[in-house]
Amino acid sequence: MEVPILKQGHYVIASVQSALTDADLRQLREQITERVGRFRSKGVIVDVTVLDVMDSFAVRTLRDLAHMTRLRGAETVIVGIQPEVAFAMVQLGLSLKGVATALDLEEGLAFLDARAREHLTGGR
């Protein structure tokens, strides 16, 4: 099932609505990378609140997505990882190393806003 991707200001927001197949995940990765260029976005939020499991492929694809958007000038934040999903990920040995995460959409937006302000004031 396709993930709706919305543009909001300088950000692109993808809200996962249901379980994702590998093909869905790949499509999400390609579409977000493309939208970042089309909308000249500075930030990406991927909301995975509804995902009830993340296996090695899902984690790898989200990590690749984050690294690809960073190479195109946009920071990605993964938001909404459920506590039991986080537990299973840790047991599996899966990490989102180098990828920003936040509790929910609100925190994700706050993270991107803070980062944008740092950039304006010349910090990093």
């Binding site: 090695s56 790898r60 899966l94």
Partner: protein, 133 residues
């Protein structure tokens, strides 16, 4: 308790179906949401391995009942190329597919019992058991 459920694995949608069915059975057995997630994740890794290496196989899901405990038995079997070096395939970070190499060792960490039998040309069968605490 219900008998076994078989999920054929030939597409990536079957991987999703297998883990969703596994979660439902685990919920029915009375596993916590946390354990249901762990079981779904373990099934996902095994189903993914079938798709990746054998292209075709199946996942069997069976409730288990012993005198004082209940659990779930998950069998993943295929008639694919088999695994040349089983101990190595069970090592974190080892992959012949360019993946993360965490599928099998990761799945083993998620369950209570894990058995693998495989030989080149003879396919692979993995049996995982998880007991309800």
């Amino acid at each position: 308790m219900a008998g076994e459920t078989v999920q054929v694995i030939t597409t990536d949608a079957d991987v999703v179906a297998a883990r969703q069915r596994g979660r439902l059975i685990a919920a029915h057995i009375g596993f916590t949401i946390g354990d249901q997630t762990v079981i779904a994740a373990a099934i996902s890794e095994l189903a993914r391995n079938i798709l990746l290496y054998a292209r075709h196989g199946e996942i069997l899901l069976e409730p288990m009942q012993q005198s004082d405990r209940v659990g779930i038995k998950i069998t993943a079997r295929d008639t694919g190329p088999g695994i040349k070096d089983v101990p190595r395939a069970m090592t974190d970070g080892f992959s012949t597919s360019g993946g993360l190499g965490l599928g099998l060792p990761g799945a083993r960490r998620l369950v209570d019992e894990f058995e693998i039998s495989s030989a080149p040309g003879k396919g692979t069968t993995i049996i995982m058991k998880k007991w309800k605490l």
